[in-house]
């Protein structure tokens, strides 16, 4: 009960970031919030249920284009975000029912294909999406600084919503069922768990806020194009962040996205020409030495200390 409250306080402190008046920091803050949405969402299907989903970019891109098209039609911005989230969830529900009977690598490949198909559809459907030319969003009549604050707070609000969803999952029946499924799916159905239903629910939960974040991202950057929003990196980053922080834990994805963002920025600045290689080596090293993520390593140290104290 204590740790989630600390996390909410941390979110509240981060929300005061605009007081510093630094636009670079505000941009980083918005990126952190977006990463936190993606990582926490992936954690539900990938961390709790143990299904290695590579569909994050599909939900993100679908949400981005839905939001952009609806805003182009004159929908108010918040409504377009909500609609984008809902459409991503419906898409996840339909696709999840079709591919969630696959396991391990097979599921991973099937989920990876979702983004590729959407990328092709988006690129060829020129009349609706502008195709490879990309799509411009309506200009907002607001000062640059006010816009930066608006998108920062909106994205952070979305991250808090995603956190509350994760909390609900981890503390309740759904999380228990998903943890059982991760450890032994056959035994899960034998103890009365409707595995298909829980897996689809988890997949839908892992898409809802990602779709909304995609739409928010589109509004934030004003211009989207298919290779940008359906980028493989959009899929890979949340997975790395979650593993870095601790998969299947409540705080892991949030901590992981913050640390990943810092690493990414530092590497980017200092090794511009070889940043991808340096980042790759860092990721490999982290996964080698922190297989259970930061939260897992800290929990283990505490348990060890507790055991030693118990003996003496």
């Amino acid at each position: 009960m204590k740790r989630p409250v600390i996390a909410l306080i941390a979110f509240a402190i981060i929300a005061c970031l605009p007081l510093l008046g630094d636009n670079y920091l505000l941009r980083l803050g918005t990126m952190f919030a977006m990463y936190a949405v993606l990582a926490q969402s992936w954690n539900i299907i990938g961390g709790y249920a143990g299904y290695p989903s590579f569909a994050t970019a599909a939900f993100f891109g679908l949400g981005a284009y839905t939001g952009a098209i609806l805003q182009g039609l004159g929908w108010p911005m918040p409504l377009a975000w909500v609609a984008a989230g809902l459409l991503a969830a419906v898409f996840a529900g339909a696709m999840g029912s079709a591919i969630l009977h696959l396991k391990g690598h097979y599921f991973a490949i099937a989920s990876l294909v979702l983004a590729e198909v959407l990328l092709e559809v988006t690129t060829s459907w020129t009349s609706l999406t502008g195709g490879g030319m990309g799509l411009n969003l309506p200009i907002i009549r607001m000062s640059i600084a006010a816009q930066a604050r608006l998108f920062f707070w909106s994205m952070l609000g979305l991250a808090v919503l995603t956190f509350l969803m994760s909390w609900y999952v981890s503390a309740g029946r759904i999380g228990f069922a998903l943890r059982c499924i991760r450890q032994n799916e056959d035994a899960s159905s034998m103890v009365g768990i409707n595995t298909t239903r829980y897996k689809v629910v988890a997949f839908v939960m892992s898409s809802l806020f990602v779709g909304a974040a995609g739409a928010l991202y589109a509004s934030w950057v004003f211009y989207i194009e298919p290779p940008d929003v359906y980028s493989v990196m959009t899929t890979i980053r949340p997975i790395v962040m979650t593993m870095l922080g601790g998969a299947g834990t409540l705080l892991g994805p949030v901590i992981g996205s913050a640390i990943f963002l810092v690493i990414e920025e530092v590497v980017w600045r200092n090794f511009l020409s070889v940043h991808a290689a340096v980042l790759g080596i860092l990721i490999v090293g982290l996964i080698f030495y922190l297989p259970n993520g930061i939260v897992g390593a800290v929990a283990r140290r505490f348990r060890k200390r507790g055991a030693e104290n118990g003996e003496t």
Partner: protein, 251 residues
């Protein structure tokens, strides 16, 4: 009326007939032994009853309701539980959490507290109290087999299928397991026992069914089964059966 009834149960895997036209009717409160040489189709029968496979033909009826075609989770919620030949705990969970899972999802406990009470009851019943907070992955084989029993008991089953719960245990552990199975039966649970160890089957079962190459070749009381010529043939081969029959022509 019998609590569990199999009629013409058949399962084909491609060209292989794993279970061939098996009829069986189990009365409430019975302990029925299901025996047969390796590959006779015993575990396949369990998988057909619990919904892991859908039978190629034939029916499974539990208290007048058809089970064939239902999913495992639906069957387990109706009150048919099983244990696995190869134990299937949730390794990263404690014994308590392992037993709470069926209490919540199969027995439909309305709250976490109620599930915990039901789980604790099953854990006490099987003498796992001291291991309540131990991770399942840290248990010995005998303890894990007992955990399987506790899990299936927490489902509040009416029929319990035990698939080789004694395999891999030493004689002392088997004695304990026997006592536990007897205690579970005494609570009114109907038990179908799949077993290789004849000593266990003989001492527990009121009735024994013998499978060979997927078909039922004999059924009867333990002492009838040990004298049945077809059974001896299936287990010990034709030559032994003939020699045996020549020695004792009157049996």
């Amino acid at each position: 009326m019998s609590i569990l009834e199999l009629k013409g149960l058949t399962q084909r895997f491609g060209g292989l007939i794993a279970v061939n036209d098996v009829d069986l009717s189990v009365e409430a409160g019975e302990i029925v032994g299901l025996i047969g040489p390796n590959g006779a189709g015993k575990t396949t029968v369990v998988n057909l009853i619990t919904g892991v496979f859908k039978p190629s033909s034939g029916t499974v009826t539990f208290k007048g309701r058809r089970l064939d075609g239902l999913k495992p989770y639906q069957i387990s919620r109706m009150g048919v539980a099983r244990t696995y030949q190869v134990v299937q705990p949730f390794p990263e969970m404690s014994v308590l959490e392992n037993v709470m899972a069926p209490a919540i999802f199969a027995a439909g406990a309305s709250s976490k507290a109620e599930a915990m009470r039901a789980a604790d009851e099953a854990i006490d019943f099987l003498g796992l109290k001291d291991l309540r907070d131990t991770l399942a992955s840290e248990l010995t084989l005998a303890e894990r087999k007992r955990l399987e029993l506790a899990k299936s008991l927490a489902m509040k089953p009416e029929v319990l299928l035990l698939d080789e719960v004694n395999a891999g245990l030493n004689p002392a552990e088997i004695e304990i397991a026997l006592e536990m199975i007897r205690a579970i039966a005494a609570r009114g649970v109907t038990i179908i026992l799949i077993e290789h160890l004849m000593k266990v089957v003989m001492s527990l079962c009121s009735r024994i069914v013998v499978l060979h190459h997927g078909a039922k070749i004999a059924e009867g009381k333990p002492d009838e089964i040990t004298k049945n010529e077809k059974v001896i043939q299936a287990y010990l081969g034709n030559r032994y059966a003939k020699a045996n029959a020549a020695e004792k022509p009157n049996v």
